[in-house]
Amino acid sequence: MKTLKWLGKRLMHSIGVLIGLSILIFLITRVMPGDPARVALGARAPAPVVEALRQDMHLDEPIYVQYYFWLLGALKGDFGESLFTRRAVVDDIKEFLPATMELALCAGLLMAGIGVFLGAISAKRENSWLDNSVRAVAYLGIVTPPFIFAILFVFLLGYLLPIFPTMGRLSTGVAVPPVVTGMVTIDAIISGNFRAFIDALWHIFLPALSLAMAGIAQESRITRSSIIDNIRKDYVGAERSCGIPERRILWKYLLRPSLIPTVSIMGLDFACTLGNAFLVELVFNWPGFSRYGINAMLRKDLNAVTAVILVIGFVFLIVNIIVDLVITYLDPRIRLGAQRGK
C-alpha cells in the first residue's frame, strides 16, 4: 500500500516535470532566429502560402497563446504535423520509436548482464590478471565515445571479418513479421517466425553493443568497487565464520547490497544510451527515432522536435521510476527506515 502511494506521488511529480519540460522545449524552439514557416516551405514558396502556414501555426501570436494551442492538441494526442514528412508527428513517432526502443532495450540488457557479471568476477579475483584486464577494457569503454565504437565494430566485425551485417534491421529477403510492437525481434517471436528472429538479432547486435559499451564499462566498475567495499564489511566476516561457502557469499550476500549503487547508475546509463542512440543510428543506418529527431532538429521541424524530446523525457522518467522501485526492493532499509530500532 505504501508503495502505491509512493508510486502515485512519483507519477504526479513526473507529470509536473513533463509539463515543465514541454514549456522549456517550447521556449527553446520558438525563440530561435528565422521564420519556421519559411524554413519549412523553402525559399521559393509564394508569400501567401507561407503566410497561411504562419496563421496555421499561430506564429504571430504571443508565445503563451502558441503554447496553449499546442497543449490543447497534445492532450488530445495531436502533436501537430511534421513540417518535413507532412504527416502527423504522432504517426512518425509510431513508426520510428519502436526501432530505437528495441535498440535501447538490447543495449540495456547487455549493460546489465555483461556489466554486472564482469564486475562481480573482477571483484572476486581482485588484483589478478583477470581483474586487471577487465578494468583496462572497462576503462577503454568509458573513455571512448560511442561513435568510435560504432565505426570500430563496423570496420572490424562488418568488413574485416564480415560476421555481422552493418545496415538495417533485417536482411533483404527476410519478410518483416506482422507488426505488433514494432520491435522486430519481439514481433518475430510472437508470430513464431524463428528465422526472422535470428536475423533480427544478428542485425541488432553490433549497434546495441556499440551503444552499450560505455554502460558495460560503468556497470562493471561500480559493481566491482561496490563489492570490494562490501567485502570488508563485518557481515561478510560473520557470514564466513558461519561457514557459508564463498560462492554463495559472493553471488547472494554480496551482490544484492552491491547492486544498489549499480542500479542507480543504470538509470543514468540508460539515459545516455537514449542520448547516444542517434550516433549509432546514423552509422548503422538504423531507421530509428533518434535519427528522426536529429533530422528534425537540423531541419528546424518544430513540432517534431518538441514531440521527440517529450517522448524521450517520458521514457526516461518511466525508467527512473522503475529504477527507484528496484532499489526499494533491493534495500529494505529504505522502505522500513521509518521504523528504525535503536
Binding site: 570488508r232 564489511k233 563485518d234 557481515y235 566476516g237 560473520a238 557470514e239 564466513r240 565464520s241 558461519c242 561457514g243 557459508i244 561457502p245 564463498e246 554463495r248 550476500y253 544484492r256 547490497p257 544498489i260 533491493l330 534495500d331 529494505p332 532499509r333 522500513l336 527506515g337 521504523q339 528504525r340 530500532g341 535503536k342
Partner: protein
C-alpha cells in the same frame, strides 16, 4: 589433563600498511579446554579481536599476515587447513559472536535468510529439509529468549532493537552447535540494563551445551562474573593468566594491578588511579617488554628482552621479569 580444545602458541600477526608493518600480535599464548569459560581482557587496540579472527582465519588477507606461530584446534593445525576444509571448519567447529550486531548482520537480507543459511551449511544442518531448517532457526531464536520467533525470521535487521540484534547474533553462533564459541565484546554496544540479561543468557546457553567459550572484553567486571579463567593481554601479548578468583585476589603483573586499581570502588576514598601513557605504536613497538615505558616497576632488563611466561602457582602464570626468568616463584 586432557589436551586443550584450543591451543594458540607463540602467534605473531602483522598488518602491512603504508607506514610499515604493524606487528600487532606478539607471541600470543593461550588455551581453552572443553567446557571451559575463559576470559580475554585488555584495552581497546591490544589485539583481542585479531586473535579471534585469526582463529577463524577471517582476517582480511592482504593487509594481515600470520608471521609465526600455531593455532591448534582439537589437535588440527588451523593455519594449515586447506581452503576447501576451511569452510567446514568455520561452519561446525568454531563460532563467533561479533562486537557490533548492526554491522554483523547483512542489512538487506532477512534474519531468517542468514540464520537458515548458517544452519544449512553446518554439520548440524546436514541433510535437513528446508522446513526442518526453518524449525531449527526458530528454535535457536527461542533459545535466546526472542519471542515470536517466526515473525522475527521474516524481519530485517533494521526493524529490531540493538538488544534483539545481539541476541540474533548469539543465536547465529549457537545454532551451528560448534565446540568453541568466540564472544567478541558481546555486550559492549548494549545498554547497561540489557548487558546483564544478555550475559546471563549467554552463560545459560553455554553451560547447557557444554560449549567452550572465549569471552573477549575490556570490562574486568564482566570477566569476574562470568569466567573460570582469565588471560590479561597488553599490546599483543599475554601478560598474565590465572583462575579468575586468583587473578582478582593476587594480581601480579604491574599492568593487571594497574587495571584493577583503575576500577572505581564503592568503598575507599579518592578518584581511581589510571595508568599513565598509551598503548604503543605497533609499527615501532617498544623493545623487550612492550609495557615497560608505562611500568612503574620497570628494570633495565625489561627494555632488552621479552619476558617469558613463568609459573607463579597452580593455574597462575605471569610474563614479567619481576618474577624471575626460571620457574621459581618471586
Amino acid at each position: 589433563m586432557n589436551a586443550p580444545l584450543l591451543f594458540v602458541q607463540d602467534l605473531h600477526v602483522g598488518f602491512k600498511v603504508y607506514r610499515g608493518l604493524l606487528h600487532v600480535l606478539n607471541g600470543v599464548q593461550l588455551s581453552v579446554s572443553e567446557s571451559e569459560k575463559v576470559g580475554l581482557v585488555g584495552e581497546t587496540g591490544c589485539g583481542k579481536t585479531t586473535i579471534a579472527k585469526s582463529i577463524l582465519r577471517i582476517l582480511p588477507s592482504p593487509p594481515a599476515r600470520v608471521l609465526d606461530g600455531s593455532i591448534r584446534f582439537r589437535a588440527r593445525e588451523v593455519l594449515d587447513i586447506s581452503a576447501r576444509h576451511l569452510r567446514a571448519f568455520r561452519a561446525s567447529e568454531v563460532a563467533m559472536i561479533f562486537q557490533d550486531p548492526t554491522a554483523a548482520l547483512n542489512p538487506v537480507f532477512t534474519i531468517g535468510s542468514q540464520l537458515m543459511d548458517s544452519i544449512k551449511y553446518s554439520t548440524a544442518g546436514n541433510g535437513l529439509s528446508r522446513r526442518q531448517i526453518f524449525k531449527r532457526a526458530a528454535s535457536a531464536l527461542e533459545d535466546v529468549s526472542l519471542p515470536d520467533a517466526e515473525r522475527i525470521l521474516k524481519c530485517y535487521p533494521v526493524q529490531l532493537s540493538g538488544g534483539m540484534r545481539q541476541r540474533v547474533c548469539i543465536a547465529l553462533a549457537i545454532a551451528t552447535e560448534a565446540g568453541l564459541l568466540l564472544a567478541d565484546e558481546p555486550t559492549t554496544s548494549l545498554d547497561v540494563t540489557i548487558q546483564d540479561q544478555v550475559l546471563r543468557l549467554l552463560g545459560t546457553l553455554v553451560e547447557e551445551r557444554e560449549t567452550s567459550t572465549l569471552l573477549i572484553t575490556h570490562s574486568l567486571g564482566v570477566v569476574r562474573e562470568w569466567t573460570d579463567r582469565v588471560y590479561v593481554m597488553y599490546a599483543g601479548s599475554i601478560v598474565e593468566t590465572a583462575a579468575t578468583k586468583i587473578l582478582y585476589e593476587d594480581p601480579s603483573h604491574p599492568y593487571t594491578r594497574g587495571l584493577l586499581q583503575a576500577i572505581p570502588k564503592l568503598t575507599g576514598q579518592g578518584i581511581a588511579a589510571g595508568i599513565d601513557g598509551r598503548i604503543p605504536d605497533y609499527a615501532h613497538p617498544p623493545s623487550g617488554c612492550r609495557f615497560h615505558p608505562r611500568c612503574p616497576q620497570a628494570m633495565k632488563i625489561c627494555a632488552e628482552r621479552r619476558p617469558p611466561l613463568v609459573r607463579l602457582g597452580e593455574q597462575h602464570q605471569v610474563a614479567c621479569f619481576l618474577y624471575g626468568e626460571d620457574s621459581d616463584g618471586e
